[in-house]
Symmetry: none
């Protein structure tokens, strides 16, 4: 599953995650070749590394799940970028992240939109998954009484464009996320209460939920404190990954919406922390609960 993505930032002390260097090197090399030629074939890769076709397919399947390539009969091709984009110069990093795991995020977003249907005051955190959820809510024909709150410029524009009353905090813009940070951002939300908050994050372990940016942690904290329900949107590639800053312990989360069941160890602690887990199924089943 996630065997190759573990070794990001583990401290030498608590290195209880298994790491497999050879496989990782192979995956990196596969992506490299993909960027060189635009496409790769299964048998070529198998010959290059002296491994079986089956293993190559498994590698490709994993890379595809993480949204890094697209499998086709006989091999794989890179993700199609828009043909000759000259128009929009939206920050490339964000664009790229939007494409990553796009399908999973779409499923999560759909599930989230259904989950919060009917709520009147929704807070939107940062990240591409949350933005996808905002889009899904808009497309689902939102309640006209809905009021949205966010410190993400992307979310704000999305919701406002759809005619939804949208409140933003003030603050200093962090360009990477187009998010508002700092004391103003925290204060801006400190006078409201929300029915539900949709949170994004970059990692989760038994310890809790992690994110990259310390600047944004404070706002997330406010959202957590002031929301009746705290919904975390996170695709399964982030399970068992840690990151810079601990946002919340698991017990602070009401509901986790994801695209695949968490690994057994996480599932256990999630259950004991009272987190409701919704798995957004690829089939059109509305929601599958497994608490």
């Amino acid at each position: 599953m996630t065997q190759s993505e573990q070794k990001i930032a583990t401290s030498p002390s608590s290195a209880r995650e298994r790491t497999r260097a050879p496989a990782r090197a192979r995956l990196a090399r596969i992506l490299e070749r993909l960027n060189e030629g635009g496409s790769i074939s299964v048998t070529d890769i198998a010959q290059e590394f002296g491994i079986s076709d089956m293993t190559v397919r498994r590698d490709l399947a994993e890379l595809e799940r993480d949204g890094l390539l697209e499998r086709v009969h006989g091999g794989a091709v890179g993700l199609k970028r828009g043909p000759l984009e000259v128009i929009d110069d939206a920050e490339p990093a964000f664009e790229a992240r939007t494409r990553q795991n796009a399908e999973r995020k779409a499923r999560i977003a759909q599930a989230a939109a259904r989950h919060v249907a009917g709520r009147k005051a929704i807070a939107f955190d940062l990240g591409t998954t949350v933005l996808a959820a905002a889009n899904a809510i808009v497309e689902a024909g939102p309640d006209p009484q809905l009021r949205a709150f966010s410190n993400s410029l992307h979310v704000g524009m999305t919701m406002a464009r759809a005619g939804i009353a949208t409140y933003m905090s003030g603050g200093l813009i962090r360009a990477e996320e187009m998010s508002l940070t700092g004391k103003e951002a925290v204060d801006g939300f400190s006078r409201y209460y929300f029915d539900v908050v949709l949170l994004g994050a970059s990692g989760m372990t038994a310890e809790g939920v992690f994110d990259y940016s310390p600047e944004e942690a404070a706002v997330k904290s406010v959202f957590l404190q002031r929301s009746a329900e705290r919904v975390l949107l996170m695709d399964s590639s982030k399970f068992r990954r840690i990151s810079t800053v601990l946002i919340a312990t698991l017990s602070e989360i009401s509901t986790l919406i994801t695209d695949a069941p968490p690994p057994p160890d996480l599932a256990t602690v999630l259950a004991s922390a009272g987190v409701r887990v919704l798995v957004a199924d690829p089939s059109h089943l509305p929601e599958r609960s497994l608490e």
Copy 2:
């Protein structure tokens, strides 16, 4: 030139054309050739890839089904127009206004960028002209010490994307302008002082400067109070026009940057109100002052 040696993903090591590139890669290549030459023939493609004519036909049929080309006897030709890739879905009204008087606004924006070069704290009001000025400042290679302040989401994203420290107010989003309004917006700027504010407006008479939206007037008022220099950006089509709400009297404006000299009566009152008028000339004269 690229028709003979175009193995798409052959391994550099041993495997020489032992395996074919995935079918999907072939489709991409076919489209590529179509865009180069305008038309392609079945037999040419078959030879290039070393596949049978029948397979080429199946490929072309698939591409035609996707609306990417038009099959003709013996091959295929490209479509007259690329299949409309509409990526940016910024609100049309704003888009349309951006195009209106685009050339005048560009000239004004250039002049404004030169005018505020070196200032450290710039406040940006709303409107397409001000946004154009923000873009011009970014493209001119802004001072890294510059701090920008705005209640316009468009301006905020533009500046932040360029790596400029950008502060936004909070507030309720007004979708038409993607602006932040209300008490939070006013309060958000009430603790700062600015070297200069770039103001937009929709009309001007001897009485003063007008704009459409009452919601935004309060923020403009704050900008005016707290800025050392108050620069109004307004194209000449707005002279002698009034609008919903009076933002400021002429004496509150330090500088007017426009694209053509104001009519005599306005020029007189502007002069007596102590407004410096800069006309951004279409020729490359930097600035022409006529106070």
